[in-house]
C-alpha cells in the first residue's frame, strides 16, 4: 500500500489516555480513548492525532471556568487567548484598565471576585460562538444569540446550572491539588447525525468530562 503524505500510517493506534502537555494550558488535561499515535513514514517522528482541536480547547475553557477554584494569572491569559479575545476589549468589558488586566494575567495583581465572575460568564458563553469577540463588540437580543450560538439550549441550561450557585474558591493548596481535567469524545445517543457527519464519521462533536473523573484537584 502506498502511504500518502497526510496518512497517519498503518501503525497508528488509539491510546487509552493521552496527557496533552502541548496544549498550552496551565493545568493538566488528559484525553481518553480518542487520541491516536503513529509514526510519520517520511521523518520517523511520532505523530499525534486529535479530533476537533477547536472543540477541545473550548471544552477545556468551559471546564476550567466552571470549576470554582480562583483563576490565576496564567489561567486568565489562557482562557482569553483560547477565546481569541483582545485584551483591550476584554478590559473594557470588565470595566478595568488594560494595564490592570495585564497585571492580573501576569500575576502581579489579583482580579476581584466580581470581575472574575463576569469574566467566567463571558468565557463560558463565548465558547458557544465561533467569534466570541463579537459578543463584546455589539449588543445581541435573545433571538440573535440563539441564531449565533452553536448549541443555544445546552448553552442556556449549563449557564444556569454552573453559575447561579457558584462560589469562587480562593483558599486551596496549589501544590497538593493540581488541577487535572479529563475528557472523552463520544457520540451522544440523543442526536441524529447529519448527512455530513454520516459521510465523515460516527463522531458528533462532543467532548465530555467523564462523570467519575470530573475536575480533580
Amino acid at each position: 500500500m502506498t502511504m500518502m503524505q497526510h496518512d497517519r500510517g498503518s501503525n497508528a493506534r488509539v491510546v487509552q489516555q493521552y496527557e496533552v502537555d502541548t496544549l498550552g494550558a496551565p493545568f493538566k488535561v488528559t484525553l481518553w480513548d480518542c487520541v491516536s499515535l503513529g509514526v510519520d513514514p517520511k521523518t520517523g517522528e511520532e505523530k499525534v492525532h486529535i479530533p476537533d482541536l477547536v472543540g477541545l480547547i473550548k471544552s477545556v475553557v468551559r471546564a476550567r471556568v466552571s470549576h470554582p477554584r480562583k483563576l490565576n494569572g496564567a489561567e486568565l491569559k489562557f482562557v482569553r487567548n483560547a477565546l481569541g479575545v483582545r485584551a483591550n476589549l476584554l478590559a473594557d468589558f470588565l470595566d478595568m484598565t488594560p494595564e490592570h488586566l495585564s497585571r492580573c494575567e501576569a500575576g502581579s495583581k489579583v482580579m476581584s471576585t466580581m470581575s472574575e465572575k463576569v469574566f467566567r460568564l463571558f468565557a463560558f458563553l463565548g465558547t458557544f460562538f465561533s467569534d466570541p469577540e463579537e459578543i463584546l463588540l455589539r449588543s445581541f437580543n435573545k433571538e440573535e444569540i440563539d441564531k449565533k450560538a452553536k448549541k443555544p439550549n445546552e448553552m442556556r441550561q449549563k449557564f444556569a446550572e454552573q453559575f447561579l450557585s457558584m462560589k469562587i474558591q480562593s483558599v486551596f493548596d496549589a501544590e497538593e491539588d493540581e488541577l487535572h481535567f479529563h475528557f472523552i469524545r463520544r457520540k451522544s445517543k440523543s442526536s441524529k447525525p447529519t448527512k455530513r457527519q454520516k459521510m465523515l464519521s460516527e463522531d458528533d462533536d462532543e467532548w465530555k468530562e467523564p462523570e467519575p473523573m470530573k475536575a480533580c484537584g
Binding site: M4, Q5, H6, R8, V20, D21, T22, L23, G24, A25, D40, T43, E45, E46, K47, V48, H49, I50, P51, D52, L53, V54, G55, I57, K58, K77, F78, N81, A82, G84, S130, D131, K150, T194, R196, Q197, L200, S201, D203, D204, D205
Partner: protein, 113 residues
C-alpha cells in the same frame, strides 16, 4: 501582531482561519509532531492562534490528495512562526509537518524546526 506578508493567498487564508474557529463534527482533525512543538516552544493553542490570525503565504498541490500550505503568524506570546501544513479540504484534515520560529527583531534566531 506581525505585518501582513506581501504575498498572501486569500482563499487559503480564509479557509485556515475558518478551520481554526469552527467545531469540526468529524474525526478528521489535526495531526502534529508533538516533539517538534515542544522543541519550538509552541503550544496547540498557539497553533490555533496562528491559523486564526495568520496568513497563508505559499500553497502547492500534492500528487497525493491535498495541498501543502505555509502559514505565517504569531502565537499567544506574540512570537512569529512559520508553519507548514498538509491540508485536505474535502475531509477537513490538517497535518502539521514543520514548525519554524521566524527571526525576531532582536536577533534571537532560535530555529527549532
Amino acid at each position: 501582531m506581525p505585518p501582513q506578508p506581501k504575498d498572501v493567498l486569500k482563499i487559503e487564508t480564509v479557509w485556515i482561519r475558518e478551520y481554526a474557529k469552527t467545531y469540526l463534527p468529524c474525526e478528521a482533525g489535526f495531526s502534529f509532531p508533538a516533539g517538534r512543538l515542544r522543541e519550538a516552544r509552541l503550544s496547540l493553542l498557539g497553533v490555533t492562534m496562528i491559523f486564526r490570525n495568520g496568513y497563508v503565504v505559499f500553497a502547492d498541490k500534492l500528487d497525493d490528495p491535498g495541498a501543502i500550505w505555509v502559514v505565517e503568524g504569531s502565537d499567544e506570546n506574540s512570537v512569529s512562526f512559520q508553519l507548514t501544513v498538509i491540508v485536505v479540504t474535502e475531509t477537513l484534515a490538517v497535518d502539521l509537518v514543520r514548525v519554524e520560529r521566524l527571526l525576531e527583531e532582536n536577533g534571537d534566531d532560535n530555529d527549532a524546526a
